[in-house]
Symmetry: C2
Subunit: 219 residues, 2 copies
């Protein structure tokens, strides 16, 4: 019966743990589970229709991703980010993406890289008129691609570990201030710098981009 979910196109059936992980991540970054909210294992396990044991494994991972914070007695709650933490997160993010840009600049054959980045930017352009969520997603997709193209798995993994926190930062501020200015032009500048192999310029552009983004979120 359970085998009916077709694993046809590499779409392997994910374990309940992974499903719970996705569901919780979505619930948190969508605001369904608001920052500061206390999480009760039995509630969640019932809500997600899984056992506590399986749930707890997912919770550990979310905790390490920085989406949950542990209270005194193992009590978990959705993490609340203050302005300093948002700035800190974006500083680390900038460092990682800065490395990504430098790495890409030093690549002997950047043909493929340039193409992929341009595709990502095109995708961003198409969602310019879309919902806020869509624009955020295409933006993150661009930056994730930046890291992935380096071929440095550790770099990609570190960035992805931060991705949840980045989403929370944007969401947290996205409610109060408008997060509308995710300029496509800025991203073109980055790609151009990488295209010409100008590592210093690429780094500078990214650092500025991140500074601006963080400033907009906390301003």
């Amino acid at each position: 019966m359970a085998g009916l979910t077709a694993p046809l196109l590499g779409l392997e059936k994910k374990s309940l743990r992974e499903q719970a992980l996705s569901a919780l991540r979505t619930a948190i970054t969508s605001g369904e589970l608001a920052p500061g909210r206390h999480l009760v294992e039995t509630e969640l396990s019932e809500m997600l229709q899984i056992s506590r044991g399986t749930l707890r494994e997912a919770l550990r991972q979310l905790e390490q991703e920085g989406l949950l914070s542990a209270g005194p007695r193992g009590r978990l709650s959705v993490r609340h980010l203050d302005e300093k933490e948002i700035r800190d997160i974006f500083a680390v993010r900038a460092a990682l993406e800065s490395l990504a840009a430098r790495t890409l600049c030093e690549l002997p054959d950047r043909q493929h890289v340039t193409e992929s980045l341009h595709s990502a930017i095109d995708a961003m352009n198409e969602t310019t008129k879309g919902t806020l969520k869509e624009r955020i997603e295409s933006d993150l997709e661009f930056h994730r691609t930046l890291c992935r193209l380096t071929g440095n798995e550790t770099l990609l993994h570190s960035w992805e570990s931060l991705e949840g926190s980045i989403r929370m930062s944007i969401m947290f501020a996205g409610l109060e201030k408008g997060v509308s200015n995710m300029s496509v032009d800025r991203h073109r500048e980055i790609v151009t710098a990488i295209d010409t192999g100008d590592a210093a310029l690429a780094r500078k552009t990214i650092l500025e981009h991140m500074d601006t983004a963080a400033a907009n979120l906390v301003a």
Copy 2:
């Protein structure tokens, strides 16, 4: 009876999960669990005298730290790092510590920072004649302090997530090649640069330091 373990000086009793985590980390980085070795949950749970459920929570965390790699059907094995991966890890590490140095340079009051870093270096000096493990630990302690002093919790957390992989890198190569050249002088250069607030120099010194370290490990 169980209350006899004195939680006097903030030494709070750790959960079995945390104990297992420490034990496994030690076992892996000490080589007791060699890279490539397949891990069987029932074996480990019996070995550590804990249940599988509790163990699995610890395993998830180790997996995310990059100490374990998941096989086809949830099969876990101790991760084996090749030379490229070691270089990649040290590149990310360099980016993080580079950010740390820059952040420290921009701090208005660096008095306290300088003192702490000098203490860390003194500690390194004292272990100069110690065992290889002791020298490695004091070295990592210095770099961890670098990140901690920034006050950027995200930065510290990212670095610590990498710490296990760094240890594995050093160990992996430490067996074949000699990892004897952890120069104290290089660390003094970093502290001096921070002391004078020269962010560019600090960054340059750290990048070179990491390049050298990675090169020594894979050479």
